[in-house]
Symmetry: C2
Subunit: 443 residues, 2 copies
């Protein structure tokens, strides 16, 4: 071949390849999420990566609009890549709920694209993993949302995590009592900064931006400072919102969340009322959920959501109230890596069968096939390289067992099974190999 | 709310939503493929949906280039959506095999985009599901490719399917003997039309386009007409290519594929030598695979692949030979639908627990949680609607069982378990509900 101009292999800034270890960890995470969602009756849906731009614009806010991957397709259509799964779901619901009926419970796992500033460590392509129940205002659906999150983190192997819950209506009740209802957006915006800037600066902002009196600002801050165990906190909150319909509904909602979790056998310590969480200011209208890893609180919430009044008002006049949450796949994977919960190697199955020579190919295939028939995943090394090289490959890839069936073993009717972690070798009869491997893997 | 301008909810032409039943069927198919791939040691990878256009251009041919979703991003980069998973894998391999080592076995499931003519019933967004072994020329890797395909179709529930195998080198050997090697591309192109236009027209094309003499054309057609059981066919092929290195390598490769499948316990009728398959003219260089459903031969191959000499020569000077195949997800799903192998409803779990009133919420949550603890998926109906409405919902969604625990049942310490298929109702003790449901589902 003559000298050839090659193209430099590279990915776009803000995009990334997933190598096997990372891809396996992500696949396990997503498979677990899907299994949990299905176990609560959520069914998968999918929507196109590309949509008409008019579908995607307008709801996400100016910043999101600027981040759109938007272009004109070959047919002259103004199109864009979806930047979240919520707007496509709203469009989907408007289009299909007549066929699907309500209530409708869906999960959706898919890539989304945002032209983010990569200096903030953000990626421009990432996966979202959402579940929602629409077409019902039942508190049971809110309570099950918390149970889904709980089950998910348990199944992922987390022992120390806390689901913080709040209800927007409690705050609404307080603001009604303080005569600040008209300025609730400004109040919530100020309150949302409490952890970052402290109560004094929040008081200043309440006065400046929400026109609150000193007494009103003090009332808001007194409320936000309330802490305590769930039942105590609930008892302290109740009088602050008494007599307001919203506040009393909010208190009942929170009490229901606690009772529901208790009835389902959730450890009470894993659910924490927290009146300071105030996410999705202009979106959530009832229960709000955030999930924190107790060992890594600094990374923020890894699964968040809440109840909303109307999903799809941009596309249909049918009101679609609902509740749902979104798993932060990337953030959670980073956390699992930091907590050493991720296998760093890329083996997708536990056993490597070595290769001796071309003539022993059928024997090796028969052996591998037998092990697979017993439910054990097996990779067959394809080339008759030196055994040492094959063992090095096995160690690098992270196999648990190496099965060696060379001419000497074959003659004796044996195989050698090597545990890579300890270099321990077992000689077992050829006929017992599946059983022996299963036993060694179960240890 | 005042009258509001709504946006018409619609998808782009050539794109589609997946509703739950279709999404579930697709997810099951892909999960099965992934499990099979992993069971042979293939590990997942992922690459970005968007790449620099220069990476994607040039290899796919003019038609593919025209179909690219290509645009300039906000940073002024010339970018495009991937149109297959092979070119991204080539780029990935060039970039990462130094870190990953060889042999390298990967699978990749992901969406690809092509601005196809939708009048041909094609979609512009579809999923590919590929597996490849690179960095080895071992016939064992070819043999395992056939075994992966076999295992996959078995696990998907197909009983009647045939993996047709050929080897490009057999044809090369024949052309060498016929002194047509220099015109192999034109010969293969003509041969590829055999099923469509018949031997006479192929003979004309061989003469016209490949400059073949009457004797040469007859030799090619005699070869292509060879049929027979695997061993007979192999015996008939051998003399036609004898004395050519390529032809003898091809015959050995086909004999190896048969022997390997036999050693792994594959039913001999499922593998069929077929010298007429000639896919990927300018790409495949050794073994070639196509998979046909015996009950729907007309839909064409549902899993195709083969061996290639060099995956990534556009991006690296390192030669990367390999072998792999691609599952036709859409075509296969359509076939499974036609063969009534797909559940047409969208229930993602088998049991619906009905809802009576707000007060019984905690009881219902406890019941659902108990069933889930026993490994049974449960949806809880969220609203206290009439039982008849809840049963209608259950029937439409396709649940297998409905568990009813109303006030009467609760008082008696019972629950009612209804089989939707037969309307048969069982009254079981509250404490036995998980066991009873598991038993009824196992029937």
């Amino acid at each position: 071949m003559s000298a050839k101009v090659r193209i430099e292999p590279r990915t776009l800034r803000g995009f990334r390849d997933y190598l096997p270890a990372a891809a396996l960890a992500r696949e396990r995470l997503i498979d677990t999420a899907k299994a949990v969602y299905k176990g609560f009756g959520f069914a998968p849906i999918d929507t196109p990566a590309l949509e008409y731009t008019e579908i995607l614009l307008g709801k996400g806010g100016d910043e999101t609009d600027k981040q759109l991957y938007r272009f004109t397709d070959n047919g002259g259509r103004d199109v864009a890549l979806r930047f979240d799964l919520t707007i496509p779901f709203a469009r989907f619901a408007a289009q299909h709920t007549n066929d699907l009926g309500l209530p409708f419970k869906r999960y959706h796992v898919g890539s989304v694209w945002r032209g983010e500033n990569t200096q903030r460590g953000r990626y421009r392509e990432f996966i979202q993993c959402d579940f929602d129940t629409i077409g019902t205002e039942s508190p049971l659906a809110d309570q099950e949302t918390a149970l889904v999150i709980h089950e998910l983190f348990q199944r992922l192997g987390f022992e120390r995590f806390t689901i913080r819950v709040n209800d927007r209506r409690v705050l609404n009740g307080l603001l009604e009592r303080l005569e600040l209802s008209e300025r609730s957006v400004a109040v919530l915006r100020a309150l949302d900064k409490l952890a970052k800037i402290g109560p004094e600066k929040v008081a200043e902002e309440l006065t400046r931006e929400a026109g609150a009196s000193a007494a009103q600002a003090a009332g808001v801050l007194e409320f936000a400072a309330l802490t305590g165990k769930n039942e105590e906190l609930l008892a302290r909150l109740a009088p602050l919102v008494q007599g307001t319909a919203a506040g009393e509904a909010g208190i009942a909602s929170l009490a229901g969340l606690l009772a529901g979790a208790g009835a389902a056998g959730v450890d009470a310590a894993r659910i924490a009322l927290d009146v300071s969480i105030a996410r999705g200011l202009d979106y959530y209208t009832g229960a709000i959920f955030e999930t924190f890893l107790d060992d890594l609180p600094g990374i923020g919430s890894v699964c968040s959501g809440g109840r909303y009044d109307d999903l799809a008002s941009l596309y249909t006049k049918q009101r679609l109230p609902g509740v749902g949450a979104s798993l932060g796949v990337d953030r959670l994977l980073a956390a699992m890596e930091e907590l050493k919960m991720v296998d760093e190697k890329g083996a997708s199955c536990p056993i490597l069968v070595t290769c001796f020579d071309a003539a022993s190919g059928p024997d090796a295939l028969a052996l591998a096939s037998e092990l697979r028939g017993a439910g054990l995943g097996v990779e067959l090394y394809p080339d008759p390289k030196k055994l040492g090289d094959q063992l090095k490959y096995a160690a690098r890839r992270g196999f648990a067992l190496v099965v060696i069936a060379g001419p000497a073993e074959r003659e004796a009717g044996n195989v050698q099974v090597k545990l890579l972690a300890t270099s321990e070798a077992h000689v077992v009869a050829r006929g017992d190999v599946a059983q022996a491997c299963a036993r060694l893997l179960a240890v």
